[in-house]
């Protein structure tokens, strides 16, 4: 491998190390040290970090389709939300008779809107295994059908981006409808337990963080393996010159579909991990603006680098957390300003900056055009 890959490897290694320590140390400290110890991580931090990590996973999934396959998906949030809803439905079913109306079958929101029986698509969600399957299958299937149609018709570029946005927007409106049977605007909330354990207990929180961290590390390694495989190179080639790849005998649409579905499932997994940690899933996760924000994370971190997406997602969300508390009236100025500065000063995102520190590399215009 050449030098550039080596430096990449170093950064990879440090990101992995950081992730591993967060994943292991924080739950450990949270459980082992007493609350007043300096080493203790509060439940607040645990769930916050858990949330960041799910966002990182989501960002990672987008970087696979956008960074490598060049498909700017403006609806990645839809897959995240679908995974989240699948998990949410499982958690709702776990409430059982502990709902306010004490109905063993129906979630509360169905009871007070006079539903009499569980809609068929809620069947099976009382089963954890089935639900986990749906966490991957629901977004995967949607991505498959949508992608199959779109890629086969050779919808590309902004046209694809905008129809993915239309997709998530349509789902947003659909899930808002109470008739859909997903709790309308309020969504699914007030979960009680997961696999029989109280979802609000510190131990479960820590385990969830652990699971999220492990998933993220696993996903990062998997993604890295994929982009370094020949499939990864084909996909990069498709990004830059789709039609040329066809003449090499590759079925471009299948490769795009493969990555698209893979990323959708990854996003679904992120959603499923997100829901028990934040305690609510509702249609606003489908909002086009949310999906746009994912693009922003990846762009800030550095597109097409995998770990850049992780860094971007964590940093932007951390900044949000801090700023909304520190300067509730002016944080948008800071965030907006930061986005502008990042684009102007760090053309390849934060990772680009890091890399240039490590080793100046010959710049190559991504579009192949002349430098300005």
């Amino acid at each position: 491998m050449n030098l550039q890959n080596l430096t990449q490897d170093k950064t990879y290694a440090s990101v992995l190390l950081a992730l591993a320590s967060v994943t292991i140390l924080i739950p450990f400290c949270n459980l082992i040290f007493p609350e007043d110890s300096a080493l203790h991580f509060s439940a607040y931090s645990v769930s916050l970090i858990g949330k960041y990590l799910t966002f990182a996973l989501l960002g990672l999934s987008l970087d696979m389709v956008w960074g490598y396959a060049g498909i700017l998906v403006l609806g990645q949030g839809a897959f995240f939300a679908l995974g989240g809803y699948a998990m949410g439905m499982y958690l709702m079913r776990q409430i059982g008779t502990r709902g306010v109306y004490g109905n063993a079958e129906l979630p509360d929101f169905m009871v007070f809107l006079n539903w009499t029986e569980l809609p068929w698509y809620w069947y099976g969600f009382e089963n954890f295994g089935f639900s986990m399957l749906m966490v991957l299958l629901a977004p995967g299937l949607l991505a498959f059908v949508f992608g199959w149609l779109a890629f086969r018709s050779r919808v590309t570029g902004v046209y694809l981006s905008i129809i993915t946005q239309a997709l998530t927007y349509a789902l947003l409106l659909a899930f808002f409808r109470n008739e859909m049977g997903f709790g309308g605007n309020n969504g699914l909330t007030d979960f009680k337990d997961i696999l029989g354990f109280n979802i609000q207990s510190e131990a479960v929180r820590s385990v969830l963080l652990l699971m999220t961290g492990l998933s993220l590390i696993g996903a990062l390694l998997l993604c890295r393996w994929i982009v370094n495989s020949k499939l990864g190179r084909v996909v990069t080639a498709i990004r830059d010159q789709e039609s040329r790849v066809r003449f090499l005998g590759y079925r471009v649409e299948l490769f795009k579909l493969w990555v698209f579905v893979f990323a959708a499932m990854l996003a679904g997994l992120a959603g499923a991990l997100y829901v028990p940690q934040v305690g609510i899933i509702n249609p606003s996760e489908f909002s086009p603006l949310n999906s746009l924000e994912i693009v922003i994370w990846v762009a800030v971190g550095g597109r097409g680098t995998l770990y850049g997406a992780i860094i971007g997602a964590v940093l932007v969300n951390y900044a949000k957390t801090v700023l909304t508390g520190l300067m509730p009236d002016a944080w948008l100025f800071c965030l907006g300003g930061a986005f502008i500065l990042v684009t102007l000063l760090m053309p390849d995102g934060i990772v680009g900056l890091l890399r240039r520190r490590i080793k100046p590399k010959p710049t190559l215009n991504a579009t192949g055009g002349q430098p300005a």
Partner: protein, 403 residues
């Protein structure tokens, strides 16, 4: 510790900032005022303001931050029901207190939440009674934004109307998405529905931003309040200040407070607000009063309990009374809702409401509607021996409380 911290959890950015920013300022004013009076339990109050940015999961996160990081003694916040639902598990888990100041769909009573806005029986039902009895309305349009509050309210109203003998053909229900801005067809439909020769009224649970284009369209299509009055549950003085009120004159709203109500207390409150916000044109509205009442009840309860400990305050606050700005006395009920007067007003050209009807005594908030079959047997009572937010009087069981 030398201060008592109070959390303020209202969106200052995003779609809900339009409504919620005012409530943040109200809380700052109230806390300021209390400090001028010497604080509470000999300590100064300190407001901790955060911005959940109209993002529902962020509400939960910020609530947790306020409680665990900032160690607030109570939180005043939320506007939409979904934000409250998002915060609820956190508040319950960490056993803190939330004062929720907005009218809502009911069907909830948490140990940790105090509902100072109207329950459906304190707003919707009286408004319909007024339309039916005083305006002799026979045909009904229930128009709402498609989310849980309008859905539930309309469910309740539909059941109520049918119980009063209104035929299904005389009820038209219509839902629109959030921020809906093209009302041409719907207003045309309403016009058609209302031209069948029977007196028709629109009961509007249309939320926030969708109202401006809705009323503009009503005006332009020539629907006058004299012909088809619209009674709204989400349009207050604040919303009116952002609209061209000319075409709205005569349409109605039902609230528990109007700025125009002429009482000494209200005049003082309005003056205080204008001084505080340094803008003589600013208006007051119903959720502001709800916070005003809620905050003062909390102060009284803390003084009564001698501590800000949530458990003690939760106990102490039940039964606490505090005068409304519009006359009469609000009382914290065992179901964590309060008693309020109900007022119906007509919109005037200056953006104020002229009260045209009002209950002659305060109405107790009812957490569980008597017009929904499943919630009819349920009551909330947070005093011994029931101590439950959803006690089923038939099965004699308390369901779903995990503490």
């Amino acid at each position: 510790e030398d201060t008592i911290k109070v959390g303020v959890l209202h969106s200052l950015s995003g779609t809900m900032a339009i409504s919620e920013t005012t409530l943040k300022d109200t809380m700052l004013m109230l806390i300021d005022e209390q400090n001028k009076k010497g604080g509470l339990l000999g300590k100064k109050l300190e407001a901790v303001v955060v911005d959940p940015a109209s993002n529902w999961p962020l509400f939960a996160e910020k609530a947790r931050e306020l409680i665990t990081k900032d160690k607030v003694s109570a939180i005043f916040g939320c506007w939409t029901s979904v934000s409250r639902k998002s915060v609820l598990p956190v508040i319950e888990e960490l056993n803190n207190i939330l004062f929720y100041p907005v009218q809502y769909e009911g069907e909830e009573s948490s140990k940790n939440v105090f509902y100072t806005g109207a329950a459906p029986n304190q707003q919707a039902i009286p408004a319909v009674d007024y339309l039916m009895n005083d305006l002799k309305v026979q045909r009904w349009v229930l128009a709402g934004t498609d989310y849980v509050y309008p859905r539930t309210t309309n469910k309740i109203l539909e059941a109520y109307l049918k119980a009063k003998g209104v035929k299904p053909a005389d009820i038209m229900i219509n839902y629109t998405p959030f921020g809906h801005s093209d009302w041409q067809s719907i207003v045309a439909d309403i016009k058609k529905f209302g031209s069948a020769g029977k007196k028709t009224a629109v009961v509007s649970t249309i939320n926030g931003d969708a109202n401006v284009p809705f009323y503009k369209e009503l005006g332009n299509q020539g629907i006058k309040a004299e012909d088809i009055p619209v009674v709204a549950f989400s349009v207050g003085e604040e919303e009116l200040s952002g609209m061209d009120t000319k075409p709205l004159v005569g349409h109605l709203a039902a609230w528990n407070y109007f700025m125009s109500v002429d009482t000494t207390k209200n005049a003082a409150f309005i003056q205080q607000w204008k001084d505080y916000i340094k803008n003589p044109k600013r208006v007051t509205n119903d959720p502001m009063e709800a916070h005003y009442i809620g905050f003062n009840m909390w102060v009284k309860a803390v003084e009564k309990a001698g501590t800000t400990d949530p458990d003690a305050v939760q106990k102490a606050i039940i039964g606490v009374e505090f005068p409304n700005l519009t006359g009469g006395t609000a009382k914290m009920l065992p179901n964590h809702h309060i008693s309020k007067p109900v007022l119906i007003g007509e919109i005037q050209e200056d953006g104020q409401f002229a009260t045209v009807w009002q209950t002659n005594k305060v109405v107790d908030g009812d957490a569980w509607s008597d017009f929904l079959p499943d919630s009819k047997p349920i009551i909330a009572d947070w005093t011994a021996p029931i101590n439950c937010g959803n006690y089923n009087t038939k099965t004699k069981k308390c369901s779903g409380q995990n503490y």
